[in-house]
Symmetry: D2
Subunit: 349 residues, 4 copies
């Protein structure tokens, strides 16, 4: 259910409607728009009585939302969601492309700083690097944990890069929320509903990677889990799905980009590194992602991929990253985008 | 790495080898067999030096395990793993078929008792019922939680049925381990590695359902996560995978049964309810599962499926369950199995 | 559209209705049932006018068939289709299980005779063996062609086995129809519509193998192509579909058996050899297929699989085939079937 | 096996080597390159003796080709294959993008001419339109056949567009080869090996669409079937594969583009219309295809898609096609391509 407020509704009227909804045992989600505010109603105790709501002061109309996802739906919020980062001009979801680059795992302070310096020099605004690694084998490198988070934090200080890193459980989630700028939920946790709800109670942007066999509806429902708890800063990320095809690690499904655009206001990025698993396919797929309308790219960069503790074969070299940035810059105007290069003076302070 | 002890090795010698392994910074997993004990060595700090181990007293030989999964591999433990339940003759993995039946969710004391009574009457030895439900939508029924666990515990008391129920996060895991007999890890959590490790530190049997697009190796690696923490009582459960086919909710992949048998000593059950999502396909697939060599069946039974809060269309009626038991009893001898009917006098006390 | 005739309608009335339909530019398909005859109407020139038909003598009612497949649908023909073979008691689709066994390819007269003798001794009623092989590589063994058909024909004479072999194009189709008893259309040709139509103009039973990624509807539409040309003797065969799973050559989808049963009157067999690609998975899957309700089994048997020119690793030994027959015989009664053993005296003459 | 001739080898020497190969019962495939000629050897009678060949005059070396596909492999021919069309500057596989546009089916002379005029005006050099339609249902529109071929031929005369249309069996193949410029083999016939071999005996370019669940190796083996018969003018076309994803008709697998580039010298196009099945996804996927390095686009255009006899929902309007051309023209330089607009004066004569 969605309460659409009149354009001239006062903050007090909006607050009163929210309070009324909460008293009925539901949750109210005020969603400010360019013209007017809408209030999403969620809860699992059946349906709200429509009549009463329509009579409250400042209410324009009450609309039933038929889709399984409510808050993630474009029916509920028409304008694109833009995630901004205080003290910087970096953004995800506006007309600038968001480029998130860095190694699969933070392996050492040296390694991370060296790569950060190079991707910053090429114009990245976000840095990625795993502190907690969800590995198929219990015997594989599991990440440096808190030490890695501290290194990432230093990188933010030094290079002005915003930090994106993965949380794999409640404990790491709290730490990532404290030290990083964007909380990544990995593909294997896309339906770890406890983790999603926990992330929904935090106030840091959450980037959800698509599950290996997730449908579009399930993908949006994962976002809904986070949003239903009050955290509306959700970013989607396509990273390939699992199919019979064996020429790439996964099958990158770019047709989800226009489909998400139709149904949801949330930004969507593409990870060509995990999607292909092959260095020489990363640039072609990064170009294709931007051409298909993605809001940005998440890409693995390593200066010595042959020595990487994880995902070496899919990491591109810094020089390839520089070339990628040049290519994306050329494609951007075709999709009415720009590629911001480097960190603004203010942010880099 | 696997240390095979001599047949006549003493408990002290076994303990000494384990201690030596732990001192090297690895983990020792003593695995008693019919003839002799083997000791699995795991850890992610590289490889143990073979030479030293071979010289320890009581050691027959040291073998390199080439598969990604070690403790789950038949190379490491040749005999089938059998899970037994104290104070009962119920078992999973021996020549008797394990039948786990009950509703998708515990909805009320009445509903659960009514179904339990009927499945017990037909000869089930295990009762299933969700207390914590991982639902695609945050607005769907999420389970009765602790109240459900208490109801399940009463069912064990009253009918002698062993209880199987799902844990979805750390908190529910502790509670399920306390109140139930088998901890279920759902398909969507098959690669929730934190949850698997946590379950590995408990001493209750863990049933892992195959992920929607999990390969056999990933499935066994999930078991390995639990076992690497010292809990060797792991049960696998095939429940269908996601494919293009649209005539069933999932595609039941029975060919994994002989494949698991080849590679692992762990028992494997089949869930024909989630695999098909259609009541009239459940019996045919249950029969097929037993005929293909599965160690048992996990099946949803509801006396009023049209009123079920979840998974109604795939729940069979108690009368169909009774018929299923008769059919499985007839098929069992072909695969050198028996179908135990009802709870033994001792257990039901 | 379906014209249901009155129970007491005369052959002349049936013929008159058919003639009327043909004059309207459509095709009439008289389908005799236990109680009364129905007449299917097909064609792609829009819809027949219902009113006129209902007024014809002997017509009980005219029903619109909403499914994409008409003649293959159980809505149009309620009773199971049974394929019989003149001069023998072998049948496909009745309560006896149809067992089709033999090598992937006919390699020589000796090889084929030796295998035929052994499968006949174990009770098979049908012999399979490829004369024309659709091979992924143009450089692989393509079959002995007409020479193989002649060998197969001798096998029928000598052992009383009915012959099933594949046609791959118009030319081989005509020859197979001439020399064999059942024309096999391979998985890769399931949507070779020209070939299906051509087979529909012949009067030999046609066995269609499910395409590697065919939905159930597409599978039934392939049957419909054959039937729309007037050949109603169609047999379906599940042989595994292509998925991400890598522990078997294909993923055997047994849940299609109850689904076909619901929607269609056509018999359905299962090929556990191509489905798994692994010798030691063939017996478990053959048992599972019969337990799930299949009408029979198509299985590859070779006495020297290590020397087979194609599909060696999935061919079972004659001794395994004998064991399979014993196992299937035990499972048959559970699904209200019998397993006929050997050829009747009359047939073997 | 591959015979690499010396750079200075004479035509007579090349011919002598070919003759020698044929006398051994194999097939010789002379493949002229920029520097020197290579001669592919194919056949299924085992292996040629290497020693003798190396001693023939003009031979530089004899190389064993380990891949299953030989003639399609870049190991055998390093330079990209370029398909040229006499009397026109249109080409497929060079640095210009090939744009093939037109309706799914030729429905009438008027419809085809109207669309052809508009796509020609926007700069297409190739026209597509189905004369023979492989339809899932035998009751669906099957195409106008020869009448359509004649209309297409008139379109070539009038607008200078090269004609691409599908053949579905031997009979239509001969006609298409006679009337059109490129023979299309549809996805459902990708493993119709008889049809592929027949196409290999013709001397018209053949465009093979990827099968719904074809691996890259199978895709290249389909090309190999055509080439093994002596027709080396083969074009590949990615058109989406079948997966669980339900937000598009198929899952467009663009990562096959760089993979094909690595392994084969054959050109590869992308069909965003069949891949997505949705009009508003066609332009994003067309842009993505070119950005990923495809050699061109095959796209369905219809001026009244709501009245189309097939595939209306995925056909774009001529005005969208014009916009697509503008967008692709902007992306082309990033991948070192150009987008030729319109037919050259000479060609249009």
């Amino acid at each position: 259910m969605l309460v659409v407020m009149k354009a001239q509704a006062s903050p007090e009227e909006i607050q009163a409607v929210c309070k009324h909804i909460e008293q009925l045992g539901f949750r109210a989600h005020p969603l400010p728009g360019a013209q007017r505010t809408a209030i999403g109603i969620t809860g699992n105790q059946g349906e709200v009585d429509r009549g009463n709501l329509e009579e409250l002061s400042g209410v324009a109309e009450v609309i039933r939302v038929s889709k399984a996802y409510k808050l993630a739906s474009r029916d509920v919020k028409e304008e694109d969601t833009i995630i901004r980062f205080a003290g910087t001009d970096a953004a995800i979801g506006d007309r600038s492309l968001a480029i998130i680059a860095g190694p699969c795992s933070v392996e050492s302070r040296e390694q991370a700083f060296s790569i950060a310096e190079q991707v910053a020099a090429s114009g990245a605004q976000f840095f990625r690097g795993g502190a907690y690694k969800p590995r198929t084998s219990p015997y594989a490198f599991q990440g440096l944990g808190l030490d890695a988070l501290k290194i990432l934090s230093e990188i933010r200080e030094k290079f002005g890069l915003r930090i994106v890193t993965e949380a794999i459980d409640s404990q790491s989630l709290e730490l990532v929320a404290e030290w990083a700028d964007v909380i990544q939920i990995g593909a294997r946790n896309m339906q770890n509903f406890s983790l999603l709800k926990h992330a929904g109670r935090l106030r840091k942007p959450v980037m959800i990677k698509r599950g290996l066999s997730a449908t579009l509806e399930e993908f949006l429902m994962a976002a809904e889990y986070v949003m239903s708890e009050g955290n509306y800063q959700v970013i989607l990320c396509e990273r390939g799905v699992r199919t019979f095809a064996d020429h790439a690690r996964n099958t990158l499904d770019l047709s989800i980009i226009p489909a998400v655009r139709r149904l949801s206001h949330l930004p969507i990025l593409v990870d060509p590194s995990h999607a292909t698993g092959k260095r020489d396919s990363v640039l072609p797929m990064a170009r294709a992602a931007v051409a298909s309308g993605a809001d940005g790219i998440l890409v693995e960069v390593h200066d010595h991929p042959e020595m990487a503790l994880s995902d070496g074969p899919q990491s591109i070299y810094p020089i390839q990253f520089a070339r990628m940035m040049d290519e994306l810059e050329q494609i951007a105007p075709v999709v009415a985008r720009t590629l911001p290069r480097g960190i603004s003076a203010e942010a880099a302070k």
